[in-house]
């Protein structure tokens, strides 16, 4: 049997922490292999090692029967390895055509480049995918969905032998996903080995031939897709069968005004005519594709991106929100989309991060910090949110992803918000932490807070949300009421 890719005994650790232990991965030409694993299971590290971005501590990699001796991206690209990275890894300052042509240039080792060649190459890939992109636009000026398409085009511009796709469809609509699916079928016929990473279980079952499950850096199960059921896959992923049943408490808030209500809000060119309310004690889901405007709506309510039109009311009172400080004063908290760059300061201590949004609580009116109060407050937070550390003076970077996210949550809980908005709070978080975080949200709602949960994690939405709102191209596009919230209904509406 010949292999497109054969990785043996790959191990890698970062600063004493093992990310991968003795991982084997075989890819046969013409198959679609699904690399499954919870966040932090080592998928990304494995992809980076095979594509030469990272060097393994031990192990061997063969591509098309030939061992790669020194690992470098250039060497991997030479042998026909291409990766569509989750974060797209594009050049914002270069044109679409040049971004697409970049990997060919690296592969061929050209010294003098040709703009004409770049355009014709880009054009041919775009035509093959049957999509539409402005070749001369700079990537920083195109939409998120278009960027994802550019990343796909760049990987497909070359004759690939092994293609990695790390969550390539998070911003795409059904139509675009369908084009991609056809290209994948085509590539299979051309004997390309495809490794596919996706969170969408139905996508995994529809597209893959075989599944490899990684957990905590170890391969825990390998088998034909047909041998998996949805339940057995989930069990392999997290180690147990979680009861992510729908657990939603209906509390009767009577005639009380909603915790948050927005009326016809909009920001020029980003979103328009958005109206909805979140009751006290209610958890409302807001979902849509990547780049649909879901994050912008949240940031507008939070004052990060002040609204041009409409009104925002908290607890029935209309508030003028022109800045984040206004929003915090009005009683709004926001757990942002990107924990690492927006949520916490990694290099600073846990306690400082925890109190950072509620400094008034731990200082005198003259602005002098009360050290003891600060320590006590943060200690209480650490206990309440079960943050796993024995010293709150350590930097946040010493915590795992799930615990870091709890710090962000704790930071906003300390401001005693009336409304808590969360944007993808469980992305990159292990299964245990995820359950804890969702439980914290239920508790918060129970105590009368209004919670707006922005997420594209369908089971999560089903698990905690009273209602789910949909955003498409900057506008609200429907709502699922309490008794309609279910996985198939959400999925179907998402990509429509």
């Amino acid at each position: 049997m010949s292999f497109a890719l054969r990785a043996r005994g790959i191990s890698k650790s970062f600063g004493g922490v093992k990310a991968l232990t003795d991982v084997d991965l075989d890819v046969v030409p013409g198959e679609v292999l699904c690399l499954a694993g919870a966040n932090g299971s080592g998928k990304s590290t494995l992809i980076k090692i095979i594509s030469g971005v990272e060097t393994p501590d031990s192990g061997t990699i063969e591509i098309d029967g030939e061992e790669i001796v020194t690992s470098s991206v250039a060497a991997a690209v030479q042998r026909g390895v291409q990766v569509i990275f989750q974060d797209m890894s594009l050049f914002p300052n270069l044109t679409v055509a040049e971004n697409i042509a970049m990997s060919e240039r690296v592969k061929d080792g050209v010294k003098v480049i040709s703009g004409k060649r770049a355009r014709s190459l880009a054009k041919s890939v775009i035509e093959r995918l049957g999509i539409d992109l402005d070749l001369e636009a700079r990537v920083e000026n195109i939409s998120v969905a278009d960027r994802q398409l550019v990343a796909i085009c760049r990987a497909l511009a070359l004759d690939v032998k092994v293609l990695f796709m790390d969550e390539p469809t998070t911003a795409l609509t059904w139509h675009e996903i369908e084009s991609l699916r056809q290209v994948v079928e085509q590539l299979k016929k051309e004997q390309v080995g495809i490794v596919f990473v996706s969170h969408k279980t139905e996508e995994v079952f529809a597209m893959s031939d075989r599944i490899v499950v990684l957990r905590n850096g170890v391969v825990v199960r390998t088998g034909a897709t047909a041998d998996f059921t949805e339940n057995s896959l989930v069990e392999a992923l997290v180690g147990y069968l979680p009861e992510d049943q729908r657990r939603v408490e209906i509390s009767d808030t009577g005639e009380e005004p909603p915790a948050l209500s927005v009326e016809g809000i909009g920001v020029e060119s980003l979103f328009a005519d958005v109206s909805f309310a979140v009751g006290r004690g209610e958890i409302v889901g807001l979902t849509g594709l990547l780049g649909s405007g879901r994050s912008e709506i949240a940031e507008a309510i939070f004052g990060k991106l002040p609204i041009d039109t409409g009104t925002i009311a908290v607890g029935g009172e209309t508030k003028t929100i022109r800045s984040v400080a206004d929003a915090i004063t009005a009683g709004i908290g926001y757990v942002p989309e990107d924990r690492l760059t927006q949520g916490v300061v990694l290099g600073q201590s846990i306690e400082r991060n925890l109190v950072s949004a509620a400094l008034g609580k731990v200082s005198s009116s003259a602005g002098v910090l009360k050290e003891r109060l600060l320590a006590e407050t943060s200690r209480a937070s650490v206990a309440e949110l079960q943050i796993k550390t024995d010293n709150a003076a350590l930097p946040v970077s010493s915590l795992s992803g799930g615990n870091q996210q709890r710090v962000v949550l704790g930071k906003w809980m300390l401001t005693d918000p009336k409304v808590l908005i969360l944007n993808g709070p469980t992305v990159g978080v292990d299964a245990g932490s995820k359950a804890t975080i969702l439980e914290i949200l239920r508790d918060a709602a129970r105590s009368g807070m209004g919670v707006l949960l922005i997420s594209d994690d369908v089971p999560e939405l089903v698990s905690v949300c009273h209602r789910v709102l949909f955003v498409r191209r900057g506008r609200l596009a429907g709502e699922l009421a309490h008794d309609e919230v279910a996985e198939p209904a959400i999925r179907e509406r998402l990509v429509r």
Partner: protein, 350 residues
């Protein structure tokens, strides 16, 4: 994917599209208009100043700045900063003259080659600190600046050399043409050739595109297979070589050599590059813009002289102009970082 339908877009949209098309990748058109406006103001305020000699002066004072700006441009596009180039330049220029004197040799072309080699060698210091030790580029080059200048003055020499070796001095006296009362030196040709060569390298070679790629997103560059370290090393070596050449141009044009010169003029050079559209955060900039930036700075300086403004005010005025230029570029850079449209154009127009 949202292709705007032409007739549905508003007039404002069409106007801004037109402007986007013609303002140039790095606001070059704005800069050109600004330069023309300044010349226009000069022509009204002090018509007698607008002579051929005025433009000759601009070329003469701009040529050294341009020579020094080329290497810096590459570094800024790659997302770095360099304040060591003046030290490298004067080291290469002065040490070459000292070498010629002590060996008792003379020449017209090879001294330039020697200066370039010295620049390359000194640039390797920056290359090591930045590519291997990942030092903040400003701090690294501040460090190498004092080291290089310290070595020059402490060990090579600190005396003013008033007479250059004859053949080299002859280069400084050779002009290709005369603009008004000003001689345009022959060294304009190699400097412009170098500028043209760099423009070609930046636009048409993989090395040049890699510089933009690294400046745009270093991690992405790594992932696509560009060797960031190699490119960085090459950038700082070439920038060193260009600085060495620029130093020699300065010495030959001024027709004397002093180790205390050039260092302290870095602001003008940095300003020319940044005003020319190179972004301090990297990924953007062009030779064309840099040339315009050099012309603008040179124009301001020469205008102050022609307008008879007391020389005591020059530093202040040039500082203000630099601040204004840099602020304008920063604003336009911030504007391009606006979020990309989500709503369909058609709907918002309605």
């Amino acid at each position: 994917m949202s292709t705007a339908v032409a007739d549905s877009s508003t007039v404002r949209d069409r106007m801004s599209a037109l402007w986007r098309r013609y303002r140039g990748e790095n606001n070059e058109t704005t800069l050109l208009l600004l330069i023309l406006a300044l010349v226009g103001v000069m022509a009204i305020v002090e018509p007698s100043a607008i002579t051929l000699g005025f433009f000759g002066d601009i070329i003469r004072s701009g040529i050294v700045t341009l020579a020094l700006a080329l290497g810096l441009l590459m570094i800024i596009i790659s997302g770095g900063m360099d304040v060591s180039f003046p030290a490298i330049a004067i080291f290469a220029g002065y040490a070459t003259i000292t070498l010629m004197q002590s060996l008792g040799v003379d020449g017209a072309v090879w001294p330039f080659v020697v200066a370039v080699a010295m620049g390359l060698l000194l640039g390797s210091l920056n290359a090591v600190l930045v590519a291997r030790y990942k030092m903040e580029t400003l701090i690294a080059t501040l460090g190498t600046q004092v080291i290089i200048r310290g070595v020059l003055i402490a060990f090579i020499g600190s005396v003013y050399i008033s007479v250059l070796p004859a053949q080299l001095d002859a280069v400084g006296a050779t002009s290709i043409m005369q603009l008004g009362g000003t001689q345009v030196n022959v060294l304009v040709i190699p400097v412009l050739v170098l500028a043209g060569a760099l423009a070609w390298v930046l636009r048409r070679t993989m090395f040049g595109r890699s510089i933009y790629a690294i400046g745009g997103d270093k991690e992405s560059a790594k992932r696509v297979g560009i060797s960031v370290k190699k490119v960085q090393v090459a950038i700082y070596l070439v920038a060193g070589a260009l600085a060495g050449f620029g130093g020699m141009v300065h010495v030959v044009l001024s027709r004397h050599a002093s180790p205390f010169e050039i260092v302290g003029t870095e602001l003008n050079v940095i300003a020319a590059v940044v005003i020319g559209g190179a972004l301090d955060s990297g990924g953007r900039g062009s030779v064309r813009g840099t040339i315009l930036g050099v012309v603008l700075i040179s124009l301001v300086q020469n205008s102050l002289i022609r307008l008879g403004v007391s020389s005591y005010w020059h530093v202040f005025v040039v500082g203000l102009v630099v601040l204004a230029g840099v602020a304008i570029q920063a604003r336009s850079a911030a504007a391009t970082h606006r979020r990309t449209r989500i709503l369909e154009r058609l709907e918002t127009a309605a």
